[in-house]
């Protein structure tokens, strides 16, 4: 087991290096010189840009810049924000964004997981029937509406006309639950289609296996086979999917947060992009990649713990 974990850890190293390289190239080379972005304006003299360049260290050769960039990441030192909240440490800013993001993403994710799993079981139980086909079609139809239209129509009809939810705004704690209602609802509507499709195919795949036939031959009822045997065996892909989704939950939803005024990581990122706040963008890219790599590693380790065959590959 120890060697397996070690091997997986070693596999993660080139990926992390790759991510940092992509980030570095994107923001220091493709975007042009950060010094010009920072100083900006039309009446800037060449000397001023040169001084800024020296201060940022972008006058050095690219490999040297990359090495110092790696050093910053290793020390977890992402510097201070340029534009959004001038001179505040980036990590502090991002830390504040995590809680609002999670307070939207976590309930929404859990709700859609519960609804889609139960609907998927329902579909698998009545597979091929009108109920099954129409459930799939309706959820696929809900998935096919663009997110922006949901937001605009929802804000108008549900919030503005029928006063079911506040139109906009965010409060921390339980008081904010009402204002989170509409974004959570939209999130669930958008995600149901693909989730149900996935879980339904997992369940159907599982139902074609030999142990199901054995159970049926023993005389077990369909309900018992489905909930006691198929559900348990189908949990492996379900759990994998859940673990892999967790990093995305922390990043929050860009459009929903922005339209409903939730000060989460998603809206911070959008603002940073609009205002060219480089340190913030860099930190978000690097940290989210780190999270993804770590969670992928965790998934692999969990797999190896559950299924010893994986370790031998």
């Amino acid at each position: 087991m120890g060697t397996y974990v070690l091997r997986r850890l070693l596999h993660a190293v080139p990926v992390l290096l790759g991510v940092t390289l992509v980030t570095f190239l994107l923001f220091n080379v493709v975007c042009g010189d950060p010094a010009i972005v920072l100083v900006g304006g039309k009446k800037v003299t060449a000397e001023k840009i040169e001084a800024e360049r020296r201060r940022l260290g972008t006058d050095r050769p690219l490999p040297a810049q990359y090495v110092s960039f790696l050093g910053e990441i290793a020390r977890f030192d992402f510097g201070t924000s340029w534009k959004l909240q001038k001179d505040r440490p980036v990590l502090e800013m991002l830390g504040e964004g995590v809680a609002p993001s999670l307070s939207l993403a976590l309930p929404a994710f859990l709700l859609s997981l519960a609804v889609s799993l139960s609907l998927a079981l329902f579909c698998a139980y009545y597979r091929g029937s009108v109920a099954d086909v129409s459930t799939v079609i309706v959820t696929v139809a809900m998935m096919s509406v663009p997110a922006l239209s949901y937001i605009l129509f929802g804000q108008y009809w549900l919030a503005h006309q029928w006063h079911m939810f506040p139109v906009f705004g965010f409060q921390p704690g339980l008081a904010g639950l009402a204002s989170l209602g509409l974004p959570i609802l939209i999130w669930v509507l958008l995600s149901l289609g693909s989730e149900i499709r996935f879980y339904r195919s997992v369940m159907l795949e599982e139902m074609r296996k030999d142990y199901v036939r054995t159970a049926a031959a023993k005389g077990l009822g369909t309900g018992r086979i489905l909930f006691k045997h198929v559900l348990k065996n189908g949990m492996i892909p379900v759990i994998t999917r859940v673990i892999v989704t967790i990093p995305f939950l922390m990043l929050g939803s860009l459009l929903l947060e922005r339209f409903f005024g939730i000060p989460g990581l998603g809206s911070i990122t959008v603002d940073a992009v609009f205002q060219s706040d480089l340190p913030v963008i860099k930190a978000v890219v690097v940290i989210s990649a780190l999270l993804l790599v770590v969670f992928n590693l965790l998934t692999d380790i969990c797999y190896a713990l559950v299924d010893p065959r994986v370790r031998l590959k």
């Binding site: 991510v19 493709v30 509406v145 663009p146 922006l148 129509f153 990043l251 993804l292």
Partner: protein
């Protein structure tokens, strides 16, 4: 060969009427397909002249003779006298030849009502898109009449059958014209990512060793940066770098092809970011196929490696590519809305559903609410995405060999 592959398309029973409707509606598309197949045959004639001259068996005469069966089969299909199209390269199935797995897939699709309905809708969208691109409908979508601002929809009001927007564009014409733009975006970005993903995946899977290591590293790295952030970063690149924009305006893409920077950005960003899924699938399938007997046999016969990869193995994994293509197609169309909202989408002068939705952000909340622009764009986008989604589901069921016995 015998068995399932040889069964004809169903002409009776479930979905017979729907199948007839679907075929009648997509008649213009079939015509285009037949013309394309014929074009291959016609183009082959000068090629034969150059290569074989007037050789009695391989020269021009043979080229001309080969046009005949393609023409016959095409006309028979278009006249509803046969249910078999010539193939895309102009060849026609011989009497004793097996129908093959694609025909089997078509048979399954022709039995599913949902799939037939979805195909009918998709065919309508394609025809609207082609007509709008050719200028037959939605002509004058970019004419703004400042005296006709925010006209409410009225069905027989000339150009304003779906109302007008804040500077007097006809919303109906914008929505129709937007179909062409959406189809361009979807097709181009899906082609870019499928080509990159398929070629890299095929090479990695077939050669293994260091090629595989490099490709795997590439796509794991790209997948480790959340897609949305890569897209945002690209948005930043375009927004922040004015020199980049100037360079593009002077390039062949803008000058020669008339592709606007916004469209190009969308296609490039989506195409370059979303090839990883296709690559992963194709690679896995190639690893499975490369040790099968037919590949070993081809290698032993001395078939060149490139030919083995692209002519022998690739057709066997094409169904996966086709499914990914359709999913990438709708993914790109949905992304366009988000990108336009973020300010990197299509330019203000162009008609696109994303731009319409973005512009109608505040129109609902005005008094009286101006709902038509948002509704038109949402409806058009919803219809297209739904049709493709449902059709992909049917396609996946039809192409999945594991479901054959179910």
């Amino acid at each position: 060969m015998s068995g399932a592959y040889d069964q004809p398309l169903p002409t009776r029973g479930r979905g017979r009427v729907l199948a007839a409707v679907a075929r009648a509606v997509s008649w213009p598309l079939s015509l285009l397909f037949v013309l394309a197949a014929l074009a291959w045959r016609v183009l082959a004639v000068p090629a034969r002249l150059l290569r074989h001259g007037t050789h009695p068996e391989r020269g021009v005469g043979e080229g001309l003779r080969r046009i005949v069966p393609t023409l016959q089969q095409g006309v028979r299909y278009l006249a509803f006298a046969s249910d078999e199209l010539p193939r895309w390269d102009g060849t026609v199935r011989a009497k004793d030849e097996s129908h093959g797995p694609w025909h089997e897939a078509r048979r399954r699709i022709a039995r599913s009502r949902v799939a037939l309905l979805a195909w009918t809708g998709l065919a309508l969208y394609l025809m609207v898109g082609i007509a709008a691109q050719a200028g037959w409908i939605a002509d004058g979508y970019d004419v703004a009449d400042k005296s006709q601002v925010y006209v409410a929809p009225g069905w027989f009001d000339g150009p304003y059958f779906l109302g007008s927007d804040y500077i007097g564009h006809s919303v109906g014409k914008l929505a129709l014209r937007g179909t062409a733009v959406a189809l361009w975006i979807g097709l181009l970005s899906a082609v870019v990512s499928c080509v990159i993903g398929t070629v890299l995946g095929a090479l990695a899977g077939y050669f293994g060793r260091w090629v595989d290591d490099v490709v795997t590293w590439l796509y794991t790295t790209l997948e480790s940066v959340p897609e949305m952030l890569l897209v945002l970063a690209a948005a930043y690149v375009v927004n922040a770098n004015a020199g980049w924009r100037e360079a593009y305006e002077a390039s062949f893409l803008a000058q020669g092809l008339g592709l606007s920077l916004g469209l190009f950005t969308i296609v490039a960003v989506i195409g370059l970011v979303s090839w990883t899924g296709v690559c992963r699938q194709v690679r896995g399938e190639f690893i499975r196929e490369r040790d099968l007997d037919y590949v070993t046999a081809a290698r032993a016969l001395g078939v060149p490696t490139g030919r083995i990869i692209f002519r022998h193995v690739l057709p066997n994994v094409m169904h996966l590519v086709l499914i990914s293509f359709s999913l990438l197609f709708i993914g790109a169309i949905k992304y366009e809305v988000v990108l336009t909202f973020l300010g990197v989408g299509v330019e203000p002068g162009e008609a696109s559903w994303g731009r319409m939705i973005e512009q109608s952000k505040l129109e609902l909340l005005s008094e009286p609410p101006r709902w038509w622009q948002l509704t038109a764009a949402t409806g058009m986008l919803f219809g297209l995405v739904l049709c493709v989604n449902l059709f992909v589901d049917a396609l996946r069921d039809a192409l999945d060999p594991r479901l054959k016995d179910a």
